[in-house]
Subunit: 270 residues, 6 copies
């Protein structure tokens, strides 16, 4: 980290630290994580952290003079055959490169890591005795990791819990199917995790908070007697951003770390 007498933190140093928070080995096979744009050798004085590397976020990074953009979602998901201003991804990449900004992300590895997206979400909702529902392995500290979390709440009517979800995550609205049970044990999966519904039921949960839920999935939950709550992709995943920014700031006190101010959910309720 030191070169001559002066310590110069590089993108490689940040990547190395992220590997301790969300090891690459925890990502899903199809995922794309790590350094997706720029250079490991780049020195870093300012880091912008955001959920997505969308065009507006890249512009904010450029205007603020960031050297590095850290996001949850990857800059490139489907491998790309061009980098032009005709696509949103192309415009993001061009903006980053023109402004000398590297881009790094932790996606499903951060979803699955202890202390990652889903632990933050479970905490945000006030769950107690949080555990991994679908354990995939044990991390370096002996903690189980996996995608979904569950935890208990004081028994309450679904309507009361809906209020908690809406307020704790700052949702403009919620969509849900009423499984006909009071809320005692809650599963959570930030982003589109409704496919894990049966795992939640097998774990004894009566309620599942996730997002991007489709019609047939609401009905599947209804048939299973599971309260299924769509709290929004942004609202369920964005809480990790503040936690991530805080950890990076603590690990690299010499770097200025900022959470994106412009990035909000484009999806509204009416």
């Amino acid at each position: 980290m030191a070169e001559g007498g002066i310590s110069m933190t590089t993108v490689a140093d940040v990547l190395h630290y992220l590997e301790t928070l969300a090891p690459r080995s925890m990502k899903m096979d199809w995922d794309n994580v790590g350094l997706l744009c720029g250079s490991k050798k780049q020195t870093v004085a300012k880091i912008l952290v955001a959920l997505d590397p969308f065009e507006g976020v890249c512009q904010e990074a450029a205007q603020w003079g960031a050297d590095l953009l850290i996001t949850h979602h990857p800059l490139i998901f489907q491998p790309t055959k061009s980098v032009t201003d005709e696509t949103s991804i192309g415009r993001s990449i061009m903006c980053l490169i023109k402004n000398g900004i590297s881009a790094v992300n932790a996606h499903t590895n951060l979803d699955q890591a202890p202390g990652g997206v889903n632990d933050v979400l479970a905490n945000k909702l006030g769950l107690q005795d949080i555990a991994v529902i679908d354990p995939c392995g044990i991390d370096a500290n002996g903690a189980e990791w996996g995608l979904l979390r569950c935890g208990s709440v004081t028994e309450q009517p679904l309507a009361d819990f809906l209020t908690i979800v809406k307020e704790s995550l700052g949702c403009e609205g919620l969509r849900y199917a009423d499984g006909g049970k009071p809320v005692r044990k809650v599963a959570v999966g930030g982003g589109a995790c409704a496919g894990g519904m049966l795992d939640a039921v097998r774990a004894g949960c009566d309620t599942f908070v996730t997002s991007d839920i489709k019609y047939n999935q609401f009905w599947d939950a209804y048939d299973l007697g599971l309260n299924l709550i769509d709290a929004g992709h942004f609202a369920t995943e964005n809480p990790v951003v503040a936690v991530l920014a805080e950890k990076i700031a603590a690990a690299f006190p010499e770097i200025e770390v900022k959470i994106s101010e412009n990035h909000h959910d484009c999806m509204k309720f009416y």
Copy 2:
């Protein structure tokens, strides 16, 4: 149709009539439509019509004494390896067979047919000069058919149009992305049709009403400057049920035709 001196309408007769409304040749390759349970030879005195052949609907059909259940969605979508009470589909099939009820459906063929799901939806929203966006062919009457429709409205702010959608379809809530344009030309696709977004833009639409929209699709619309409205799968498709019931009743005056009273959307807003 006649047996002795008395005319006895059969399931085959109803299927034959449905073929004129929504020909099998208009269905998508992967779809499953037509007689999915029971017998073409069954005589029909009472028909229940509903959007879905869910368990509650099958029970309603049984209690009312229906001979035939006509739905939009298929009773079996993924081919099944068993028919047991351990799955919702199995329970639906067992209920129908035990009560001597045949099940027939028109799915993507009814989406695409002139006068089908999407024409009904476009009319319900008050669109003018309704046309097919993505024509696939010409039907027996010389009318173009295809999945999506578009039409014009008096230019208005998005908020005004959101009110129209909510009221005309009876939605409890809407989700949307604001493309930053007033509403003049609207595309519609009942059910999960957000994949047709670029078709809507190419057709000159500023607004698209569909359902089951995912996070990245809202952002794609936002990037494209398209107003994208999720009015719900049930709310965008259910209007065809009344139209279908009415047509069948007119075609078969000897049959008692009823729309399901119990079937409502299980998805709620909060």
Copy 3:
């Protein structure tokens, strides 16, 4: 098994017992076994046992008042997109459901289990020192399991052994290729197992009894110097039905167990 003071055996109880005879873990990957129609919760007073769940067998079960039909072959093999009277499978399912009969089967798990289809067949032919040719594992009792069996007979001309096969299995006729050797060590595989010919030869067998043999397979055997005998699919597998019925009757003395009286091979010789 007991509810209140009265013991009510259920389909679940019978499934649990079948799991001890032919564990699901012994089935082949592509197979469909277990409860394929009805309900585990159903109470059972009468069980019909047969090789196949064909339409005639289902009608016999209905007429006799069976609660459960147990077969070797599965009711549904290719996953189905409909349950109608236009197919034989559809008619079987409809007959079972209308008459409140559950259907359960053990197929390749029963072929491979110790004491299953192929051990019964080997015994029926009077083989000595019966062993598994192609062992796949060890069961809970320490016995090897696998598809094919072999055993020895007193050395004899092929013609003598053909007589034994015909009489012991009650075949109307046999088809065979003469490998040019006397019969000393015999491999057996009920149903269509000619694909295991090389396994039989490697195990030192001079003779192989199976069924559904094709032209090129007879010639392959002829080239290998293997006596290959087609004793019929029904005749080589049906012997397990009586053994299975007997075991179930012993395990559930409160249940009336009957072997299908109507089910015979539809294939005749001339």
Copy 4:
């Protein structure tokens, strides 16, 4: 064909003639036909004709001093990675090459051609008004071609027709399922054609003669009410050999043409 003053017929000449009887364009996609061993340039004085290029047939060709072996089935079907004496195919190829014999075949093109395997079979059974069931095209003479044939017989009980089949084809035995109908219209497909059962039914046939029939196919026929007769692969296809030999002898009077004397069916009845 002429070289100096003496006419020397070559394998190429014979192939050219076979193309008029069974054009390569009539073969199925997966098939392997034409010159499979030897040389088009070879001169031909003696041709052996047989159903199969099995080892015994190749030896007979060598002993007789044949220059060319013409068969229905191909010498190589699955592409081969070696030519050794460890396989029957390897021994056949080695025998042919050592003895300077080329090998030529017409397989599915001869099945489908007018006057080919299935027309010969239909004639042999005495069918009247023979037609193609599943036409694939029109040949150079304006005749329809395709796989299966059908024709009528004087109405008779199935037992009577079984006698005709057995005697006209010289079968040692027959296997059949009784569809419960008298015989009036008969479909035929030499070799393993039971997969065409529904085509036969659609063509109005009550009876289907083919071979290599499996258990479930006999039951499918039984369910369909179709008399299904397995007359043997060899017995249903071998009749074409004599017809083919006769045509070749007529076309090439300078060549000695012989039908294999040793090749018989290795499959026996008991």
Copy 5:
């Protein structure tokens, strides 16, 4: 093209012109052509033309102040999951974007177009009566297009023709297999086209000039009696660069067009 009173040529204009030289419809299915980096809206004053968009070429473009880089090979061939300085492609893209340079290419469409890579190569070698060997269609001017060309030369020993190839293309060395024939009719395919060897033979050629030839391909040619010459990928394709640069300069007199000075073949002979 005009904005206000001053004509400003854009990348879109150049793409439009390239479409007349090498229409996109002539490209192979798997290929990637057109605008692969930057913006169609960019104004263009200086164009660098080169065979490849390699790192050294991009740096040259940047140093010279180019607005647009036009190459034969695509900047991105395998779709990419990142744009970083860890790969050569990533460094090329980053160099282009940082320096505001768009990148455009015409690859297999330029190989196949009349007047493209292979016509230029055939002319360079002095072939007469040049024709397309493997025609794929007719262009807007009625000319045949396709991949390979052939043409005649005065009959000469192979050694003489090797001298012509080496000198006319400026090759440092050649590799070849001697087919044992004098040179009269020559096929050409710039780049790795040895797979078209049989097309060349069928077209009556005795000699084929291409590149990237493998051991077994040299032997295939030797067995076929075809003189096969590997003149190098760079040497056989680079001649089109000068022709392309000249045409663009003529079409856009207001633009400064330069051929890369630094780009040479990195492959040397010893």
Copy 6:
């Protein structure tokens, strides 16, 4: 090996010995090795050894009266559907069979075996401290095996090493890319092994000798700073032939072993 009082070595004996030099378990999945033509039972008095089983080599074997041809490359690589004089492979097989010659090969198993193709190549180039770059396992003698080898040379300019390669392998010419480094540590892979370039770099090599190198591979090496030398497929693999012949002669003193005199590279330089 003995039959009566006289020892008669068979093809099986030679195969057994080859298995000790290059075990079948070391071959790659897609490869075809061992006895590809003839018979294990054949007695062997004369063996011809060559790199390839090409037509000229087979003719040489026939003229010399060989009983067995041992090569590196397989006689059949793509499984074949015919054996005729229309293909080079067909002519080779026919020549061997007519002359009673068996054919045996060791391909990727000989590439990977200790003492095989690549150890011989490394020795021929005078490398010191030869090691396996990409170890796949340990052989019966405890030696590592794998595809590529590396070893060190006295540090020297690339030009000096090119001279060593050319002279030690007897190459008519070389093709290379200059990676800009002196030669100290060299990787070798006989035949087309440029795909292992990154393995060579990871092993710390500055130079890689292989063959059949394509344009983009030379550039990849150039970008990596790796000296990449194409010394020819024949020249890099043929050295193993002499070593193999010597070992076989030593193992079977009763057999006459000869290296092909006619087989040379058909690829020339100009």
